[in-house]
């Protein structure tokens, strides 16, 4: 049982870090509560695997502390941290049977024989590995191997957290959802903290209650999938979450109006005031493609745009259009009215987001 706290944690691979760019993990504070199902989401190279290895103890952070239940564990190797880790490529002991694989962590800590068998059988039962127990682990399929490596974490009574490092990378797509559901089931059954690293937003949001989105060595937002979608805290989150990602318009304030290029954007007054009050030159308006409406006819509140492409994805269509020299996307429900190349777009005023220097600014109603 553990609450994992990262205190002023930072990590660099460079011996003599000069600038924030030298850090794989920039200084951060974070708390993973006992029993939570978390995802660590971000693109390749954002530092999420580094962070995971720091938590598991494979890597010692260069700055700050890792606390397990209030105790500093920075120097403790993984074997002394009561954690289990499932790797991207399944790690199994080829020459052993599935049973021996699952019993291995117990035998290593000299658990008496009569207690090993029931424990292994219990875990095998949960993971649906019982029919395979007597087989050599070598010939298993990738998803079975991944279940075995997860099982090695579950057999130990002292495991308080399981860390997953993109565990479904090598799994066939049709088996992915099955294994993901299994993970969820295990999480509900055992009171174990689970941290799941992935770059797939769908994987993250189906597995986790809360997602930490990492970008450039920082956790830019930590929230539920719904929060990430509705109120992204950073332009990266807006862009990374959602399919397609959020549209961003660079805007400036000019004579009581919000200008996007040479175009005046119809905006609620509170946005005009908020933008007028910022000093920054990096001001963006974000709008999810779901909240962009496309009209065939000219309207007062609509902006004239040019249709570039329509992708029909069955239950919805994605319209790519050009506005002020930039391309944007709108996601329209099935059966939307027809329109020609010249279109008129409106943005749902309740769904607009204001981003100053890439961070979301709440606009008071």
């Amino acid at each position: 049982m553990a609450e994992i706290v990262l205190k002023r944690l930072a990590h660099t691979y460079s011996a003599n870090p000069q600038s924030p760019e030298d850090y794989a993990i920039r200084q951060m504070e974070h708390v993973w509560h006992q029993g939570g199902a978390y995802a660590l989401l971000g693109p390749s190279g954002c530092g999420k695997s580094t962070l995971l290895n720091i938590i598991s103890g494979l890597l010692e952070p260069s700055e700050g502390d890792v606390l397990f239940d209030g105790q500093r564990v920075n120097e403790l190797p993984p074997e002394e941290r009561n954690i289990a880790q499932v790797f991207q490529f399944p790690v199994i002991y080829d020459t052993m049977t599935v049973f021996d694989n699952l019993a291995f962590p117990l035998r290593n800590i000299n658990v008496p024989h009569h207690r090993i068998t029931p424990k292994v059988e219990e875990v095998a039962d949960i993971l649906e590995l019982t029919p395979l127990l007597k087989r050599k682990a070598k010939g298993l399929t990738a998803d079975e191997k991944q279940k075995v490596s997860m099982g090695r974490g579950l057999v130990r009574d002292d495991v308080s957290a399981i860390l997953f490092d993109e565990p479904l990378t090598v799994i066939d797509p049709q088996l992915k959802w099955k294994l993901r559901r299994k993970l969820k089931e295990i999480h509900q059954r055992f009171n174990i903290t689970m941290i799941y690293v992935t770059h797939d937003q769908l994987e993250a949001s189906t597995f986790a209650d809360k997602i930490a989105v990492m970008y450039d060595g920082q956790v830019v937002q930590f929230g539920t999938p719904q929060e990430l979608f509705e109120t992204p805290a950073h332009t990266f989150v807006g862009y990374f979450i959602g399919s397609p990602g959020m549209n961003f318009l660079n805007v400036r304030h000019h004579a009581g109006e919000i200008m996007f290029g040479e175009m005046s954007l119809p905006m609620p007054t509170r946005f005009v005031e908020a933008i007028a009050n910022t000093d920054s030159a990096n001001v963006k308006i974000g709008i999810r493609p779901e909240f962009v409406s496309v009209h065939a006819d000219k309207r007062d509140d609509a902006l004239p745009a040019r249709k570039c492409q329509v992708q029909d994805l069955g239950t919805y269509s994605i319209v790519t259009f050009e506005l002020g020299g930039q391309t944007f996307k709108a996601r329209l429900a099935e059966g939307h009215p027809d329109f020609g190349d010249d279109i008129h777009v409106t943005f749902d005023p309740d769904q607009l987001g204001l981003f100053v220097d890439d961070y979301r600014v709440e606009v008071q109603a």
Binding site: L58, P78, V91, Y93, D94, P131, K136, K138, E144
Partner: protein
């Protein structure tokens, strides 16, 4: 539709290789087979003897002893070189300039021609000017490879271990390097002991390179010629006369073409048989590890 063009002139393309193999292997081998069933008295005087030479060779007590000696030698060096090679590979540095330096140092013995290896050790072990021979004598150890068969054996084995363990070590090193880091990390998390890591991760991943190492070392040690020939000349007495040296004496020294041809065929078949049995057994064992049938 079958788009293949049938043209028997394509055989012409195989011809150069066929000629090459014929001249380098098939014709010499067939000549040996031809000799082995004849008594060659002179260039134009020979007569057919059937399997007589084979029977003579198999019943020759000197050759039987040499055969036993050969097996003992091969088993001894395998028993030393394989574990030692694995051990060296395990403690070799994994990265940085140290890794390169150690690799180069370790490879050096492999680069020395075989008869030079014999000469080096012949001088090295001399009691008057050889570093090892002299040092041993100075600290009061009776050591003489020309008089004492035990010393001669010890030295030949030491020489072979020095010369060829690097090969085993290099093969194992490459095998160890191919193990993904995640295996070691998982083993740490599973709290595996060093021994368990070796037994369940490293050794299984080394199986394939070890098969190659054992085969190479067996074949070569079973045919060893130049090094002991230069070092001890087969002596003292015939205590270090191995099969290849007996064969060379018979074929080149005494020009007994028939018997030596029969002998070399037996020699060849023994190596082939042992290697085949070993390889098939290992491959069979590996096959047993894979499951039988579906889930």
């Amino acid at each position: 539709m079958n788009n293949k063009v049938y043209n028997n002139r394509a055989w012409l393309l195989v011809l150069p290789m066929l000629v090459l193999v014929a001249f380098s292997a098939i014709i010499p081998l067939m000549t040996v087979v031809n000799y082995s069933v004849q008594d060659v008295l002179g260039p134009h005087a020979s007569f057919f003897t059937g399997t007589e030479w084979f029977r003579t060779m198999l019943n020759d007590p000197a050759l039987q002893t040499a055969f036993g000696r050969q097996i003992l030698f091969s088993l001894t060096i395998l028993a030393i070189q394989i574990p030692l090679g694995i051990g060296i590979a395990l403690i070799m540095p994994k990265q940085g300039w140290q890794a390169s330096a150690v690799l180069i140092l370790i490879t050096l013995p492999l680069l020395i021609p075989w008869n030079v290896v014999g000469s080096i050790w012949q001088i090295f072990t001399r009691g008057d000017i050889g570093l090892m021979g002299w040092s041993l004598r100075e600290i009061g150890i009776e050591y003489n490879i020309t008089r004492n068969a035990g010393d001669a054996w010890f030295t030949i084995i030491l020489m072979d271990v020095w010369h060829w363990t690097p090969l085993v070590a290099m093969l194992c090193y490459s095998g160890l390097r191919s193990i993904p880091e995640a295996y070691y990390q998982a083993a740490r998390i599973d709290r595996a002991s060093k021994w368990a890591v070796f037994r369940y991760i490293q050794l299984p991943k080394l199986t394939n390179v070890l098969v190659i190492a054992v085969l190479l070392r067996f074949m070569h040690s079973f045919m060893i010629y130049a090094e002991p020939f230069v070092l001890t000349g087969g002596g003292p007495g015939s205590s270090t006369t191995f099969l290849s040296q007996s064969l060379a004496t018979m074929a080149i020294g005494q020009q007994d073409l028939g018997p030596s041809a029969a002998f070399s065929i037996i020699y060849f078949l023994v190596i082939l048989l042992v290697s085949w049995v070993f390889y098939t057994t290992i491959m069979h064992m590996q096959k047993d590890k894979t499951p039988q049938g579906g889930a």
